[in-house]
Structures are given as C-alpha cells and as structure tokens.
Amino acid sequence: MTHLDTLVIGAGFAGIGMGIRLKRRGTHSFAILERAGQVGGTWRDNSYPGVACDIPSHLYSYSFRPNPNWSQLYSPGGEIWEYLSTSAIEEGLLEHLRLGVDVQSMDWDEAAALWRLTTSRGAFTCRTLVLACGRLSEPRIPAVPGIDDFRGEAFHSARWTPVVDLDGKRVAVVGSGASAVQLVPRLAERAARLVVLQRSAPYVIPRDDRAYSPAERALLARDPAELSRLRTRLFWKAEEAFAQRVGDPASISAARDRARVHLESQVKHAATRAALTPSYEIGCKRVLISSEYYPTFALPHVVLEPSALAALDGDTVVTQSGARHRIDVVIFATGFHTTQQSYARAVTGRAGERLSEHWSSGMTAHASTVVSGFPNLFVINGPNAGLSHNSAIYMIETQIDYVLGALAYQAGAGNPVLAVTRAAEEAYSRLIDELSADAVWTTGGCESWYIDPRNGRQTLLWPDFAHTFRSLNGEFSPLDFEPDGLPAVTVPR
C-alpha cells in the first residue's frame, strides 16, 4: 500500500501540467499514474502519418513552459509529444511518474477521508484525486457486421500500427473528421487505391501553416517578452472565432464563405464538390483545417464514398449506399467515446455511487471540475471543459489553478474534506444549458460528439469564450462546498 497526498490519473497535457505545478510549489507527496508505458496522452496515442495540431503551437503549450523552438505555426504531433516528454523530464517529474499502471478502481473511504485505489501494480491511497484521463482517449469503432472476420488488417487511427505495410495496398479510411483530414493526404501518397467513407461532409478551411524562420526562433529565445506577445495575440485571435458559434450572422456567414471558397477553389469536379458540401451549419461539428485534404480527391486512385460503413464482408468494405470495395487495410478514423468516459465506471464516491451512475444522464460538474458526492476529487478535461475555437491547454491551466486554489484553501483551513454541494453543481449545469441554448452545436442540425445522445445536452464544450471560463472558474471558491465537508442532511418530509 502506497499513500500519497495527491494522485493524478493520466500523464497527458493535463496530468503533466498538474504535476509540474505541484512540483514547482514544493509539493512532493504526489504521483502520476499512467496506464501506458510513456507519457504524452493524445500525442503519444496519435502517431498516424500527418498527425498535427489544429491550434497554433505557441498557444498549444504551457504558458509556464514557453518553447521558442516550435518549427511551424501548427507543429507536427511528434514535436508536441517531445515537448511534453521533455517538460516531464526537465521539471523533475520522473520520480513521480508511475508508468504502466492500470487503475482498476477508485473508491472514496468516508471514514478515513481517503481515496483507495486498486491498480495493476498494487494498492494506493490518497487524500486528493485528480482525474486527468483525457477527453479523446477511448477509440470508438463502429459495431458493424463482419468486423471480427475481416480478412485484411483493421485498426483505429489512434492505435497506429506502423508494421502494417501500406505501400501499394488497397486502403479504406472510415470517417472524415479531424484525424481523417490529416491522414488521407499522407495515405494517398502510399496506397495503390484509397477509399474514403464519409458519413457527413465536414467543413474544411485553409491551413495557413508556415515554418518559423531561424531568425524568428532565435528572437523568441532571446526575448521572452516577444514570445509572450505572440501567444497573447494568437489567443485573442482565436477567441474571435467564438462569435461564429453563437449565432452572430455576420461571423457565421464569413466563416461559411471561407469554407465554401476553399472547397470551390480546390475541387473542380462538380459531383465530388457536391459530395463534399456539408449539409448542416458551420461550427455544429468541429471545423477542420487542411489545405491538402480536398486536392486528394482529384487523384485517380482516390475514391470518395459519401456513405457510412455498413459492414465488412470477408475482404470487402460495404457502404450503406451499397457500394463494395475490396480492401487490404481498413483504418478507422471514427473518433472517440466522448460523452461516456470509461474512467467514470471505475470511480465510486459517497454511498457507493459510481461516477458513471452520477453521470447516467450526462456528465455534470460544478466549475466543470468538481462533482457532488465525490469529495476531494477533481476532473480535468471533464464535463464542459473543452473548446472548439481555442486552445485546450488554456482550459487545462485554468482547471489546474482551480485545483491548486482548493489545495491551498484546505491547507489553510485545517484540511477539511471538500465536498461540493449538489445545489452548486445543478446551478452550474443550468448556466451551461443557458449558454448553450443559442449555440450552433445545439441548433446547427448535425450529429456531433459534443452532444450526449442520452439527454441531448451539450456536455463536452464550455459554451462561451475561453476567457470567461477562466474568469468564472479560475479561482477556487469555498462558498460552493459543504461547510463541514459532510454530506447535506436530508430532512424527511
């Protein structure tokens, strides 16, 4: 049995960031448990050809670890993974990392006021539990007939299998989302035949990427204030895009026009262009950025099937429209389980309530971070903490600030158990619903991974500007918590 003050589950951007901030505060009694053999989260899992970030790198990095050496405006995934690994090493986190530890259960012990964890490497206890398990961690593969008997190779884009030979092969990509858009142009360079199955056409806008020159990089290294100015500028530029999400007609039509002009300039073939034209409002699903995706469909060996996958039949991919293609390798770029996170099934709070039960009609948390009935627990990247217009790292850092504020409050108040009230969680959920009401995710006429199909609520995204998330949730407030840390007494009627 190992006891630590704080356990962090997951060593991606959120977990490493949490660890760095704890370490820099002089905290030593903490560990980061990671089921994989390496740190890196999304950027470890997604190693497919062409993987890159859609947020400028100087923004998609820790504010407290600026990196003057980003190669590109939008750096490749490998570079981001290296940044995270280097950050973990240079900040002294190696002694706090427990890699290859699969957490099986996390149970709140009310009497001892501790979390008890069972893992593949033994038992742990801690006072404070931080779930930093990611949002896009569990690959989602469509359950179609014949999938287990497929004769060729089949895998998810986030479980890239480099040993599979793609050169000269017949390859099918299922999906046309953010991963597919990056992957398809690279696959077209290698496959003899490439079939892309598109259930619904995405909006794609130009990727105005460019390399930073040696002079620019040296300047940013020599003058940190310049790097800070650049980051600030990128942040506020990204914030402007939120106007497109909340029904501002001028912003929406400008964004739609940009995507339409991009499509029309890159796709000349009328039928292909029609098939690539989205049928819903821009922003309802994630807006993709690529200058290479559309031109791929002009290549003679690339086929666009504007239909969902229906079945795999021996060596053949069958679409819902009835098309059949003999295929050697199927790549599922079909996204992730988002509205129902698997970690929630492993967490048991007060009175034996599982987090998955608490979230049975959709994820909720006060301040997007704390859940009633789950004391001394913090969820980073959990309910309504994502963005579709700005950097996830800004949100993660805001949540880390909240956690550190909570820990500082506890330290100064005699270590009370922190149990957020149900009323606070419900009030916050009402705020989320109010803010989401006029947003395009709920009004745009699409099916997206932001919406929980069980109740139709938008449970993934913070439905406002990023800066308002920080203004509302960046500081911990004990007002939202049970005064004595105990569960509220229910008065019988």
Binding site: L59, S63, S228, R229, R231, T232, R233, F235, W236, K237, E239, E240, F242, A243, V246, D248, A250, S251, Y394, A427, L431, D438, F465, A466, H467, T468, S471, L472, S477, P478, L479
Partner: protein, 249 residues
C-alpha cells in the same frame, strides 16, 4: 468573498454603446455589439444625423439613448464617442452607472489635429488615397492583417473634423462614475498619452492597455470585449487608480 457576477443577473446592466468617427455602432463594433448583446441590453448611439455639430450635440445623443434605459446604464464610448461619453458623464453624473472610454482623449493631440487636417485636405480634393492614408494611421503594424478600409463619406468627414476640436479637460473633475480608460499601445491617432491623461484626471478611473492601434475595435475585438465585459459587470473590482495588467493567456 462575493458571488461571481454571472450568477447574479442583476449585475448585467444595460450598455449604451457610442461609436467613433464612423458615427455608427454597426460599423465600429461588428464584433463587440452582437457579443455584448448576448448578456446585456445594448442601446446604440447614432451620430449620423446632420444636426450633430458640437460636443454638446454628441452628449445630447448619448442622453437620448440613456433615457431609453430603465436603470442608469454603463456608457461605453470609443474614440470620438469615448470623449463624448466623458462629456456626458460630467454633465449628468447620476444618469450612468459606469463609464468606459476606449481610445479617447482629454485634449486633441497635435497628431490628431494633423490627422483631421490631412483628412479634410484629401477629402476636399476628393482624393482616392484618403481611405488608404487613414488606414495607415488607424491600424498598428501588428494589426495590419485585419485592417479594413475605413468608410469615407460626409458623416465621417464631419465627425473627424469635430473630433479634432473636442476637449474635455475642463470637464473631467465632474466625472463621478466608476470609469475604465482603455488605452491602445500603438495608438498614433488619439495617442496613448491622451488615454493616460484621462486616467489621471478622472477621480474613480482604472486603466487597461491593449496591444493595438487606434482601430482596436477591429484589431483586438475579443480582448476588448473581455476587458469591457468584466468592467461593466463589476466596475469597482479594481480600485480607483489601478493599472489593470494585461491577461497572460
């Protein structure tokens, strides 16, 4: 510890929005107006009517908009509109709950007078380069990628000329409302110094600075929204005399 303003709808005052040289809120606040409207009732001031010839006329137009609000509103003015809002706040201190002056001035800086002189001269010649010359002056180098061609018409020409005569230095002692002065670091028209002078002169003022030219409403609209949104919901969060540091995202 107080509740966050978002949880107290009463702390979402009406906003009277006062445009700059264009005379139209739709032109000067294409981002700010719809985004403020998500949380506040916004009443637009319009300076396009021919009768607007003096600082008093500008202030009167603001008074008409303020009178349409149930409670004393927040008055947010940009450029010439900011100066007019300051004049209004001095004349009718009880009529508003707070005042924000963005890229305004206390007295016309020599460079503003020169800008207005150049505008008048080029417009007198019906010169095609007026819009380009004005754009050079209004936008900073860093904001050039979002530089729009400013509207050139009789209204703008009249308001630029009027703007270069506006002087509120005698009025600032009468401004009692909690005030936010927003200066722009690269403002070569109104000049940053003039914003700072307003900050110095207005008793209950705090100061924020944005890394933009005079056209801050187009260069950094989201940052301006963040600064203004926080101020109008909680005007005295920062005490009088505070220099509000720039956000470090």
């Amino acid at each position: 510890m107080t509740e966050h303003p978002w949880r107290a709808p009463s702390r979402r005052p009406s906003v009277v929005l006062v445009p700059g040289f264009s005379g139209r809120t739709g032109e000067d606040f294409p981002f700010l107006l719809p985004m403020l409207e998500r949380r506040h009732r916004v009443v637009s001031v319009d300076f396009t009517t021919p009768g607007v010839r003096t600082l008093g006329d500008l202030a009167d137009r603001i008074g008409v908009a303020v009178a349409r609000c149930d409670e004393p509103p927040a008055v947010v003015g940009y450029s010439l509109g900011g100066v007019a809002a300051a004049a209004f706040a001095a004349q009718q201190p009880a009529a508003l709950s707070s005042l924000a002056v963005v890229a305004g001035w206390m007295t016309p800086a020599p460079k503003l007078v020169a800008f207005a002189g150049l505008w008048a001269e080029l417009q007198g010649e019906r010169s095609a380069v007026l819009a380009a010359a004005a754009r050079q002056a209004l936008y900073s180098a860093d904001g050039w990628d979002c530089a729009r061609v400013p509207r050139v018409d009789d209204i703008t020409t009249r308001l630029v000329a009027l703007g270069s005569t506006l002087d509120v230095s005698a009025m600032t002692p009468g401004i009692a409302a909690p005030t936010l002065v927003v200066g722009c670091a690269s403002d070569e028209v109104a000049t940053t110094r003039q914003s700072k002078l307003l900050f110095g002169a207005i008793a209950d003022a705090r100061y924020a600075q944005i890394d933009a030219g005079h056209a801050v409403v187009h260069e950094r609209p989201a940052e301006l929204l963040a600064v203004l949104g926080a101020f109008v919901t909680e005007p005295t969060r920062y005490p009088a005399g505070a220099l509000i540091g720039e956000d470090r995202p």
